[in-house]
Amino acid sequence: MRRKGISLGDSMAETWRVRVVPKRGDFDVAGAEKLREVHALGMQHVSMVRSATIYELRGHLDEPVVRRLADDLLCDAVNQRAVVVRVANDVPTDVATVEVFFRPGVMDAVALTAMTSLRRLMASWGGESGAIDAVRTGIRYEIEGVADRAELETLTRGVLVNDCVQQATLSGFGETVVASRWVTAPLSADQDVRRVQIRGRDDAALDAVSRDGHLFLNTEEMRAIQRHYDALGRDPTDIELETLAQTWSEHCVHKTLKADVWYEGDDFGRDGHVELRFDNLLKTTIVHATRTLDCEWCLSVFDDNAGVIAFDDDHGIAFKVETHNRPSAIEPYGGAATGIGGCIRDIMGCGLGAKPVANTDVFCVADPRWSADRLPQGVLHPRRVLNGVVQGVRDYGNRMGIPTVNGAILFEKRYLTNPLVFCGCVGLLPRRFVHKEARAGDCIVVLGGRTGRDGIHGATFSSGGLTDRHAEDFAHAVQIGHPIEQKRVLEAVLRARNEASGCLFNAITDCGAGGLSSAIGEMGEKLGATVHLEKVPLKYEGLRYDEIWISEAQERMVLSVPPENVKRLIEIAAAEETEATVVGTFEATGLLRLMFGGTLVGELDLAFLHEGLPRRKLKATWTKPETIKSEIVPDAVDNKVFLHKLHELNIASKQWVIRQYDHEVQGGSSVKPLVGPGIGPSDAAVVRPLLTSDRGFAVACGLCPQESDRDPYTMAIYAVDEAIRNVVCVGGDLSRTAILDNFSWGDVSREESVGALVRACVGAKDAAIAYGTPFISGKDSLNNQFTLAAEDAERLDLPQHMQIPHTLLISAISVIADVTRCVTMDLKCVGSSLVYVRSDSVDDLDAMMDVHRAVAGWIADGRVLAAHDVSDGGVGVTLAEMCIASNLSINVDVGRVSTETNDGALLFGERPCAYVLEWADGNGPDDDRGLPLGKVVGDATMTINRDGREVVLLAVKDMRTVWSQALERAMGV
């Protein structure tokens, strides 16, 4: 029987289906999880979701063989049973059923593994048992209690399938709609060289070329390209234009941050009005701070995939943080997974390859309890977004064996349409491998996964805003990662780097945004290259040459390899079960020559590609808003109000997320994200990357976008201050602390947004210089806005153009000479004293730095038992967290903490540059910046007084219950 719609190369081949289901009595974990999600969607009447894993095997197979394959490999006889059936005979029952498969071309890692293992198993049987041509996997859900067809569709879209990467077949209620035809027939592509006519065309026509090709180039940039080709006397080929668009994309080249900016508006850090010009905003602010500080321990800054600082005499540590906002908005799981995957590759491609030793992640999302009725079209529910991004980071990081040790989650309603995902990675590399340079004559080698039609236009897509139709328009830009492939690549890179005869390659970089076009274009920037695109290994036939060139298929690295080392590199790759292929040569021609099957399909002047982009000229304005929505703090505080504060999602424990990450793999975790016998939130994580040494590094972050509404200048300073406080709290060395910037900004076509960007850049620069903490790397993501469908804006009473609060994430990394001297935030000792330490001014950066330096000194001298920074939720929450972490309790008086008249502002008011310390001996430091608060006591209650009046008296266990359960409750788990 042949099923219609499936084209088969051979009339004897057919498709078998193995459905694996939990045995009666065993727990259906996937089904139960989906049922919870269905209930969280508001469909409480759905009574049961049963799940089954589907394997479809195509080939020359008969039933006994498929049965045996199922029993021997696919189904675990202990707790599962398998149903084997020809696809054509797998008729739906009356039960509402949804089957979900990946769309063609999307990474199905399980199918790849299953195919290899099934073939190996059949080979071990010997004889002629048949052949398997292809495998795909899917999930089947049977759902009981669904009211009707329409509800089944809502439920499917809501929790079972993401159209962007998956397809669903729905059956039940008397009909079946098959969406997931399995097409594996060879696709064909014509390889004719196409030219795009741009010469002699007016601006409107140029804009149309840019728009229709998803090039995201503006008129001026198109004109520059036009002038270049006028001079050459020809039109560009499609691949040339694509290469220019990728290389010139905001994502790759940061044209806004590097623009010349005329700023007119409020002065910085003092009253007054100024007009200033910044020739290259980034260079005159962030980079300027680093150049001014000129630290000898900065080994590589701003010119590699990551910044590198000295770790010890022999090693450097590399740190990079990336954003992956757009893909995560439309496919949270794949978006976040490939976000962390890409950042890990940046580390693998830093210098001559660094070993990833720690990951970080920061998410900004809307409240997971957002009403499902109030969701605009094209927007995923925040609960689903948060679930997806956590699972994405979890599955990629855990599988690669990299501990995820630090992060933050921020809840704010303006992130509803544009959630933010920041992923970071720290790597360790020998100092002799910090620098790299491709050489003329080197072979261009692609290492790792094969290239498919996935992730095309990611770089350009990430540079524009989102709309309600984006999920459909840019589905091809989103991908599912394959972390085990990347683990294989990592093993191969480290082996090739560490060869006894010397590193086998002269340069390495990752394939990220823009794919091979960016990787080879950047690596050969000072040389030139010829690339034979037909040599690039493909997942399947039928890719056009330009698709091969710009595909952002994951898990690939590009290496520059002397010809005599190629053979050995290929051997190492094969031993690690991956693939290395020579695709071209670097040569000193100044040209990027692209060939396909002997035909020249593109030839670009590298000088034009890298220098030809007209520098943008932007106007920026900024005036302090007259009315500022201040944070809502209660006037009066009692026990109930206090518990309510601990229940706020921005305050509550993030344990539910942290525990899903392996934060201990590699054996180096020294201060964990969760610390103390009562499991409190650590300010920073400390990792000891060399198992035979007690030297380590602290990693932490700071962000306070709420402050950007008031002034992005102070927002940047406060973010730096928070990151610094966090590393100080665990024992970080301020003379060896570096920071990273990640800007996620709104619509930068508006002068006020650019003005806000200028203010944040200047704030970051001022703080970095005052604190002596150089920036070593950074990344920006602009135009985080969302255009709602017109009817939605009205119906939901939301602005049609949703904008995120301007968000600057600062990540800090600090070297720690001896991790056994680190301090954590849990209270240690009954009878010891608590001290509040702060600067008098929150404007005087030098005075603030003095406080940080003093606290760091006391910690280094062993005078501090516990340290915790005062941040979200003010001194009240800081004290509560210290009690929760330790199971110890306190009796304190906070009357002198500030002059705020109401108790809410006093206890919960947030400010930079403040700490609570548990002091080892006596009442506290002999220093007027330290304010004695009271004592650690042993009665299991937290007593907070104000000038002798009791404000709060709570049992520590009650606080823990509320604080630790809030997020899980909001997530419906």
């Binding site: 139960a32 890692a109 593994t113 198993l121 064996g401 683990k487």
Partner: protein, 254 residues
């Protein structure tokens, strides 16, 4: 001569280096080898006393945790491994290594038949990293007499289930339950004391010889003073609990 340990990895193994470090702290010398290389030269097992399958996500946990790596061992190394144990060698599988040993049929022993037990998804439905206490139960070459061990678990598929009630009873009767999850006082309890919903709180299984151990928790993650999540509040002169397990393995050959 120092005790020699071979750690066998596959694509997606990711705890081999810290496991090797733990063995070296215990006094052993350690090599790491890809399973494909061992398959080509199984004779090299003769150079070692202890074999270790480390934690990680071999082959991505695709199909189910440990299935594909377990198939490697079953198809290509079954006889060599049997001979290794029969001549007195020890085998330790940690986390994914336990899943591999279980899939390969090396624990809880051939006498219980094929497909006696499996390690499947946690009742929480997802991966969890948390610290637990373990109580030794049946005699096993990797256990000592010093009482409970505090070590972390980090897995998504660690819930042990048996084929039926008889098998589970037999595990107990025949002394295959090497370690159980308990609270800090050694008492049984529900989640999160038992972090994954394992039947009879089973954290580790041995075979009929007591020389093979499959263990879900990660002893190699508690071999340094700073590994414990509240080390800053604990005395500094204690022996990290996980190290005891590796020392017991080395002592076996002393």
């Amino acid at each position: 001569m120092a005790c020699r340990v071979l750690i066998v990895r596959a694509a997606g193994s990711n705890c081999e280096h810290e496991t090797a470090h733990a063995w070296s702290l215990a006094g052993a010398t350690c090599d790491i080898e890809h399973v494909a290389a061992l398959r080509d030269h199984p004779g090299q097992l003769n150079d070692y006393q202890i074999l270790t399958i480390p934690g990680g996500f071999s082959y991505g946990d695709d199909i189910a945790a440990g299935v594909v790596f377990g198939q490697d061992l079953k198809l290509f190394l079954a006889d060599a491994l049997r001979a290794f144990v029969d001549r007195g060698g020890l085998i330790l599988g940690i986390c994914n290594g336990f899943q591999v040993l279980s899939q390969a049929g090396l624990v809880p022993g051939a006498d219980l038949g094929a497909d006696a037990v499996t390690l499947t998804q946690n009742t929480s439905g997802h991966y969890e990293d948390r610290w637990v206490h373990l109580a030794p139960d049946a005699a096993c070459a990797f256990a000592d007499d010093d009482g409970l061990m505090c070590v972390p678990v980090a897995h998504a598929e660690g819930r042990l289930v048996g084929r039926d009630r008889d098998v589970v009873s037999a595990l107990e009767e025949r002394g295959r339950i090497a370690f159980r999850y308990v609270d800090q006082n050694g008492q049984a309890g529900g989640y999160p004391i038992n972090p994954n919903g394992s039947v009879r709180d089973i954290a580790g299984l041995t075979d009929e010889t007591g020389r093979v151990l499959g263990l879900m928790p990660h002893p190699e993650r508690h071999v340094h003073l700073t590994h414990h999540p509240s080390w800053t509040a604990l005395p500094r002169d204690r022996t990290p609990d996980g190290l005891r397990l590796f020392r017991a393995g080395v002592r076996h050959f002393a």
